[in-house]
Every structure is written in C-alpha cells, then in structure tokens.
Subunit: 418 residues, 2 copies
C-alpha cells in the first residue's frame, strides 16, 4: 500500500463527505447516530470476538496489564459504547445556531453562525470505545472524522467503523463521514498531520511522546490534550474540614486521571495547623508524600521533593507538597510548574479567591472544589473529546462546541459600504 | 548579535511582562494607552523625521511606489495613529468577563472567564502605523506583544516602540509588555515562530510568501490573515438594482483591499437579464472582465477566463465572471475556489439565501450586502488586528475578543466529586 496515496484518498473523501455532512439536518444526524447504536448492540458478539483477537495478539506481544485493560471491550463495554452514542444523539445540535445578530449603523445586521470545523483527525490510544465516542461527537457536530486508534486495537476499530458506516448509510449520509485508518503503519500518522488541504484540525489524545512528535511534525492546527499536573493550594483562611475533604477527593479518588491533583501547596501561616491531618489522611491511603524541608519538618514521613517532582504528573499514589509564603508565591509557583490543566484554591477569603481565579493561567481554575470536577460531563457539556491544555480555540473540556467554530453572517437588503 | 539568544531574551521578558499585564486593571491599561497617545502626539516631529530616514533608505533601495506609500508616516498619519490608540482605550475591557455561570447537579457553579492569550508575536509589512495599532490591541487585551514590522520601517518602528514603552512605564506597567524586534535579520522571524515556551500565538499579516514560510516553519499556533478571493453570486431572484449596486461597491469601491470582490457568479436563468448592465458599469470604470464562454457570449468585451483566474485575488481592476446553473453550482464553486474570506449572495428568495448562509464555508457570508463590509469596524469590534481565514479560534475580523480565550471557572464551597 502506498501510504501517502492512501491517506490522500481518505482526506479527499473526508473533505467531500464533510460538505454533505455540514448540510445535514439535526434529524438526519440523529437518525445516523441511533442507527449506529442499534448496529453496535446487534453486533455485540462480533465486536467482542474481534476485540478478543486484538487482545490475543497484544498478550502475545507482551503488552502490559494496564494497556490490556484499556484495550478490552467486554459485552458491558459494548453496551456502554452504544449508550454513549445514543446520549450524543440527545444533545442539542450546535450547528447553525445564530447569535448576537445586531443592527450596525450602516443598516446591515451582523452576527455569528456556529459551523462545523470540517474534517477532524483524531489520534488516540488503543481504546476501542474512543472510536465510537469520537465518531459520534464528530458526526453530531457536522464534522467528517479520520480516526487513528492505537495499532493494538485495529481489529476492534475496523469492526466498529464498519457499523458506524452502516449507520451513516442507513440515514442517507456518506459512509466516508467517518473513516478509520486501516493500517498500523506509523507513516499514516505522519501523512495525516500534514494533510493541510483535507484536514482542518488534529485532536491528539495520548502520551507525551505522541504530543512531542506532533508538535515537531504537525502542519495542521491541533487541539492538544496534554498532561495534568494539577494543584490544590490551602490558603491561610482555608476551612480545615473543606481542605481535608478536597485534598482527599482531588488526590485519592482516582490516581490515573488527568484531573487528579499531583501537588499540594500550603500557606506557611497554616502549615502546622493543616498539614498533619492532611498528611495522616494521605498516609493512611498509602500515598507517598514528597515535600520541601518545611513540609518534612512537620511531616516526618515525607520524603524529599526534588525540583523535578514539582513538574511531575505522577498518575500514582504520590503527591508533592510545598509550603509557600502566601498567595503571590502560590500563584507564581502554579504558573511556573503547573501543566495549566486544573488548579484549585481552598479559602474562605473572597478577595484572595478572586485573585487566584483571575491570575492562575490554567484551563480550569477552581475555588473550594476538587480538581476532579474538570470533566466535560461534570461541566454539562454532555460529552467530551478531550481536555485541551492549549490556549487558543478551546481550553479545558472540549465538547460539541469545541468541535465547531463561528463564522460571521451579514444580512442586508442591498446595502453597500459608504 | 546572537539572534537566538536575543530572541529568547525578548521571549522571556515578554512572558514575565505578560503575567503582570494579565493582572493589570482596566484603569491601568487605559492610563498606559492614553500616555502612549500623548507621547506620540508630543513626538510628532521626531516620528516623522525617523520615518523620513526610512523613506530615504527605501527610495535608495528602489522600493516601489505602493510600498513607499504604505511606509510613509505623515504628520496627519501620526495624529491618526494617536487617535487609534485613544479609541482602543475607549473600548470595553474583555479581560475578566465571566459568562454562563451555572449551577450543576453536583452543586458546583461552572462558567467561563475571558483571559488574555499571553504573549502574541505579530509579523507585518513595512507599515509603521501597525506598530501602534498592534501594540494598543495587545495591551488592551492583556497580552504582551513582540512586534516584527517590515525591515524598511525599522527606524520608524524603533521610535514608536520607545514611546509605547514610555507610556507603559508612566502607567506603572513593564516596558517589556511591548517589544519591537530591533534587528532586520530575517533569522529573528525564524526564532520567533519556534519560541513555543514564550510565545502563545503568531499573527502574521502580509503576503503569501510570508504565510507559506510560516506554515512550513512555525511551531507556534497562528491566527492567519490570508488572501481574499471574494465572490458575489447573483441568484435567479436577485433584484437587478440591488445586484448592480452591490457588485459596483464590492468590486470598484477599492481595488486593493482583501474584502474586494474578485469573482462574480451569475445564475444562467438571469444572466442575459442582469449581466449587460453589470458589465456596462464595470467597463465604464475600466474594470477588465474575464469570463466563461457563456459570459463572453453576453458580454463581447470580456476576455477568456482561465481556471487560474477563478482562484486569483487580483487586487486590481479585473474581475472573473462565471455563469452557473443554480445555487448548487454556485455554492460548490465558491467552496472550491474561494479563499474562504467573504462571499455574498444577492437574492430575494429566503430559502436560497439561508442555504447560502449555511453552506458557504467562509469566514463571512452575506445576504444582499457588499463584501466590502467584512471589517472589524463595520462589524462593531472597534478595531481589528487582521481578518482570519483560519477556522479554529477566530474567523473573520479579529478584534480584542479574538486576542483572548476563555478558561473555565468552578466555584464551590468544599465540593468534591462523587
């Protein structure tokens, strides 16, 4: 297979399909989504069987347990996948929404219309359920999708893609609205991220290695989903009960998610008051504490934190802790070390809470709430394609709206510029 | 000078200044803007003198008349520059605006806050007034700016930058909020567009050559200002008087602007009725008509249009004309040949007008109005840094809002995720 030619064909087909999809009514798109869900439920056994083949090959290749777990598609997983697609069908259609239509002194009316981006390339890990999720979100937002899942999931993804295309055609939409790259050749990614003519945006989901490669090579704009080195800052007026509850939830509810807190900042004035109880809670859950000298003076069990620790997203039962001199140092530390994903302050002081909200340069900034809330469902987006740590276009959880843009519309009645 | 090291210094300084600027109150930013305007007015003679040096060097280098014209800064030009800065001071501050704060079932309140992008790199032609405009827009939107104007304007830009920095310092803001790259070495651009750590977005203004270079080399996201191959489509129910007036304004009001119409589509059913009067008007203004065979049969004076003509932004008294079979062909033609800047339909038919509005994939789409309206001032943005032909982040005229993004804010009172 000539990969360059193959990818150009996919790109050209996606562009053509995107034109048709941009014109599709909400009813057509929803009919397609429901047909996809029905096909997925009907072919449950076949999907599980295809996934079993992927799993067997992955086991033979020595894939580690956590990755095998993500790769697995159980019967229950197939049901959730179908439910996810049905939920997207129920979300309001963002496309065509017109806002802020106002008369201007010249007599024209000017406003904006929400429109699809066009063709979206999504690069993700070996998680078959993402294939259905991503297809559903792109379809609902009127975008054609080119999907590239981790190569270990190729059989599962191929099987899911066939059902998505069946649903599209049942609703009278082109099958090419959703295409899965049907090769595990890594050169296909290189082509996808340079197909400027046919691809409008790349959504990469995956590890730092993937993002680093894309940053170096991509010629297409990206909505990046990078790491989450999230902070909780206990300010001098932090309520001790709220502080304990929020740190517990933010750090220990789940260790492997990007909105898990990885670093705790404690104001010097309250360190001796707050740290012992927080440390007891963390240690009781076998969370390793890596602290600055002042932390270690208060918490003898704490190990020494290095500079590198403060930059680290552990995704594990480890937390870095630093005693800071006040809100200025806290904000400066976060803006320096955070991955600009999600950071929270615990305080009952209004001016300090508002300063933190305004000055911390992260995609989500929180007052007296757990960083674990940073999530498309919790924010009411209905679904999310990822959490953007980029600053332009979309920040934080990206739902249907993040997969669209707004064009300007001008309504006149023969108006010309004076 | 070590260009790499110099640019990193500028970048580091800009990042530090941007942190301070993001916290600046509207009053501080406006005070700085007014101080800049005052300094510009005070130093009118010195600015004109610096510009005269640029002009003398440019003339000696044989720069063509149109470029010399853009490079020129007259006393009147200095006044307009100061006025422009004062106008930006009067615009509402977009930073800190919180919207859509809603309670979620979990009890948290979630919404968005508008925030600066951080550091913006602007690359533009040898037009000194852009230095003041761009500085003012970045400052008001809370962004630090690194400015790189055309090398022919280096003396003018240096003089303007000194006054901008004087104004910043008078208002207690860091001078490094606005920095002009003080070298004409082209390598500086190469460094600027790869300074991912310090530069959040690049706004290129300039010719296709610059954009092509940036597309190939930039590692920083861009808000591109590309060419304007704008269309007017006369539909079967186009009112003849409105059609004539709109084509006249869209094509002939100014030939060199990006929102000038370069291509006219006429529905076959009304071509014989509408084209003769439109052609007479164009020919009377010495606009060269390049048409398809059907156009030429109706307008004998028309030359033959090539495929390339339909892709061309003439920026000159030339127009391409094509007779089309209906709205489907018109939309398909525009989506193929347009630069996705601004396209207009002239029709009194509501369903067709709405189809055109929805299906034409351009940054501005108009009904019964001249493409010349595509402009930040006409749209009510107060000012513009450029017109984006990109699809992500900002489309069409980009004002203060386009230089900001929205982060998520979460307000809780000890809330944790269940």
């Amino acid at each position: 297979m000539d990969i360059k030619q193959y990818m150009e064909t996919l790109g050209r087909q996606a562009r053509a399909a995107s034109r048709r999809l941009a014109q599709a009514s909400s009813a057509e798109k929803n009919a397609a989504l429901l047909a996809v869900a029905t096909a997925i439920r009907r072919e449950k056994a076949a999907l599980v069987a295809a996934n079993q083949e992927d799993l067997a090959a992955a086991r033979a290749a020595g894939l580690e347990a956590a990755l095998l777990d993500r790769l697995t598609l159980s019967e229950k997983g197939v049901d959730s996948m179908a439910e996810g697609v049905e939920q997207v069908a129920k979300l309001p259609d963002p496309v065509g929404e017109m806002t802020d239509i106002k008369y201007r002194p010249s007599g024209i009316q000017v406003g904006r219309m929400r429109v699809p981006l066009g063709v979206i390339g999504i690069i993700y890990e070996a998680r078959p359920n993402v294939t259905a999720d991503a297809a559903a979100l792109c379809l609902k937002s009127g975008n054609a999708a080119i999907l590239r899942g981790g190569s270990e999931a190729i059989r599962s993804n191929r099987a899911i893609a066939a059902l998505v295309q069946e649903g599209l055609q049942a609703a009278g939409l082109p099958a090419e609205c959703v295409q899965v790259i049907d090769t595990t050749d890594r050169a296909a990614v290189g082509e996808l991220i340079t197909l400027r003519e046919f691809v409008d945006v790349i959504v990469p989901r995956g590890g730092k290695g993937l993002i680093a490669r894309l940053l170096a090579e991509s010629r297409v704009p990206m909505i990046q989903h990078l790491d989450g080195n999230c902070h909780v800052y206990l300010e001098t007026e932090a309520d001790p009960a709220k502080a304990l509850k929020i740190v517990e939830n933010a750090k220990t509810q789940r260790y492997g998610t990007c909105n898990t807190t990885e670093s705790l900042l404690v104001d010097r004035a309250v360190a001796e008051k707050l740290l012992p109880a927080v440390a007891r809670m963390l240690l009781s859950k076998e969370v390793e504490i890596r602290g600055c000298p002042e932390t270690r003076a208060i918490v003898p069990e704490a190990k020494t934190a290095t500079e590198e620790d403060y930059y680290t997203e552990y995704l594990a039962p480890i937390i870095s802790v630093k005693v800071v001199s006040g809100i200025d140092e806290a904000i400066a530390h976060i803006n320096q070390y955070s991955s600009h994903h999600t950071d929270a302050i615990v305080t009952d002081n209004h001016p300090k809470a508002m300063r933190f909200l305004r000055e911390v340069d992260s995609s989500s900034v929180m007052i007296n709430a757990s960083t674990r809330f940073a999530d498309g469902f919790e924010y009411g987006l209905g679904a999310e394609i990822g959490i953007s740590t980029d600053k332009i276009h979309a920040r934080g959880p990206v739902g249907l709206e993040g997969l669209t843009s707004q064009k300007w519309v001008v309504l006149g009645d023969g108006h010309v510029r004076g």
